[in-house]
């Protein structure tokens, strides 16, 4: 789960990392009040879970509270950044940086260890630096049992040529960032930029955190921070039903058991659908594929108006194909979808399952034996060519 900038910076501040004294607002009047309280020029920053906010016109500098209010009026509920409506802005005091560095922690899959990364090229996306100037990124692996050592932060400070006068402050920030990372079960905690500002202070001007979804059960406070307004209705429905779902923009809905097979099914649709027809979603209905869960999954898929056909691909392992088929028919009768559905059952008792589907002879419900046949039929159905 991604946290907004203001949420991430609040966490950082709780762990003793210096952050600007800004506040979040959802109306132009609130922006005015915050700017007045802060005094001096402010920066109005769109709070959306997308990169490239500055380029999209979502970050604006204002000299007066009036100007801040007017700028906010043009952003709040007006501006869209990568399809996301801006509903909140962060109003921070404008603090021009003298220099900017990057500081972040993530997990390195290859070594199985957390990794502290820093670069003197702050304010640029780390992936960009990795492409253009990879030597500029300094890395220190962290033993998760022992934690980050002070000397490691000094290794980094020296390697990025940070002036010595900032080393103590930098070490403190890095150590606190590690504590914050662990305490919040983060998979990414990033300060970009960490700026040197007037008065020779270090300040976390921007922040980003990603929280491990697998650990949200032990962080109800973080789980409650989820931006449900930014979520498509279908994704909210799926999350509430415990179904793994991602909305995409194709026309063919998919319901599959297992994440790997769900991705594969999407790929097959793309393979046979070409540029015009693609998957409308990723959906892992989980094990068992009971009637009730299948019905919920059907409703979620059908809540997207662009869905022209549905491909159901279930591998019956421990759950047998005939049970799955009966569940499918029950769910179908409950939801009564108006779009054609192609069902493919494979695995244990798949033949019996297919016979059940065939004998039910429901119009608009088609069986398929192989993945290839299922994908081809689903594409034909979306085109209205399957009779």
């Amino acid at each position: 789960m991604n946290l907004h900038e203001y949420q991430s910076k609040t966490r950082f501040a709780e762990f003793g990392i210096p952050t600007p004294k800004g506040k979040v607002a959802s109306t132009p009047d609130e922006v005015f009040a915050i700017a007045q309280e802060l005094g001096g020029p402010v920066v109005v920053k769109s709070q959306v879970l997308a990169g490239g906010r500055g380029k999209a016109g979502g970050i604006k500098l204002a000299k007066t509270p009036e100007e801040a209010r007017d700028l906010a009026a043009g952003i709040l509920n007006e501006l869209r950044i990568k399809g996301l409506v801006v509903r909140k802005v962060l109003v921070d005091p404008a603090t021009p940086p003298q220099s900017e560095i990057y500081l972040g922690i993530t997990n390195d899959r290859t070594t199985g260890k957390p990794l502290l990364m820093a670069s003197s090229e702050g304010g640029v996306e780390i992936e960009e630096v990795n492409r253009t100037n990879p030597q500029a990124i300094i890395r220190e692996h962290i033993d998760p049992a022992l934690g980050l050592h002070d000397f490691q932060t000094k290794n980094v400070a020296s390697a990025i040529n940070l002036p010595r006068e900032h080393w103590d402050a930098f070490s403190k920030i890095a150590l606190n960032l590690w504590r914050c990372y662990v305490a919040n079960d983060a998979t990414l905690a990033e300060i970009n930029p960490l700026a040197v500002i007037e008065g020779n202070q270090l300040l976390a001007l921007d922040g980003k955190m990603i929280i491990d979804d697998n650990a949200l059960y032990r962080h109800p406070d973080l789980a409650a921070m989820r931006d449900v307004e930014a979520e498509p209705t279908s994704e909210r429905m799926a999350r509430e039903a415990g179904i793994s779902y991602v909305q995409l923009n194709g026309q063919i809905g998919c319901m599959v058991n297992g994440a790997g097979l769900a991705m594969t099914t999407m790929d097959m649709i793309k393979l046979y659908g070409g540029d015009e027809y693609g998957p409308a979603n990723f959906l892992d209905v989980g094990g068992g594929a009971q009637a009730e869960k299948v019905a919920t999954a059907l409703r979620i898929i059908l809540s997207e108006p662009n869905v022209k056909s549905i491909l159901i691909n279930i591998f019956g392992g421990i759950t047998r194909g005939d049970e799955v088929a009966r569940g499918m028919i029950q769910a179908y009768n409950e939801v009564k979808p108006q779009v054609p559905i192609v069902i493919r059952l494979q695995g244990t008792n798949a033949k019996e399952g297919r016979e059940i589907i065939d004998t039910a002879s429901i119009p608009n419900l088609f069986g398929a034996a192989t993945l290839t046949e299922a994908a081809q039929k689903a594409v034909a159905a979306a085109k209205g060519e399957l009779k």
Partner: protein, 285 residues
Amino acid sequence: MAILADKNTRIVVQGITGREGRFHTRQMIDYGTAVVGGVRPGKGGEWVEGVPVFDTVKAAREATGANASVIYVPGPGAADAIFEAADAGIELIVCISDPVPVMDILRVYNYLKGTKSRLIGPNCPGLLTPGQAKVGIIPGYVATPGNVGIVSKSGTLTYEVINALTEAGMGQSTCVGIGGDPIVGTTMVEVLEMFENDPETEKVAILGEIGGRAEVDAAEFIRKHMTKPVAAFIAGKSAPPGTRMGHAGAIVEGGEGTAEEKIAALQEAGVRVAANPEEIPGLLK
């Protein structure tokens, strides 16, 4: 002899009294697996599916001589269960539990390096040596003994390919589901190395997906060290970047971990890459 588990592997089930643990214990026994005991603190002395239950893994190991464990406890207790198994000297630990926090697995992973224990998973279907041992939840019905080794990040996609191989008359030596989390106990490269050294495995199938660089590392290993033919399928070509696709590890981050990049690396290493998992048996004929 296959890899990791065979008919001589003696297994304890951690979390045997839970719904999943009990159900899969029955399935494993019916398949002919040597399930010698179960563990559930506070329920020592009871019996589940004809198997004695112990309070601790240590007690189970002492009484039964178990050398492997399979974990069905819920995600929040999974790391503790793995530590307990390692502490009791269990050599092979298969963790089915999902979801397990990444921070827990980071600690487990680094701790296990100093022990003799090997972890498979978490969030995986476990492993199956057809005709000998089923350690986990891979449905035994679809498999048949043979010479194709399978290493995979996913569950049902693996079952698909096992089934397709069986239908094509091609049996399997061992099928290993390593799990789709960003950090897993045993990597794809480690399993490939075992297959390369296993006399009963003559061909290998890799089932990968987007995210991370396990498949790129695998390609590197294959190029340098493997003599046996390898076929692969990589799922997630159509997945949008920056979005997690079900598995915690299945995400393209910062333009890295794409299906295209993995396919190119594998092809360069001489691996036959399938556009469709149904092609795998044909590519290994």
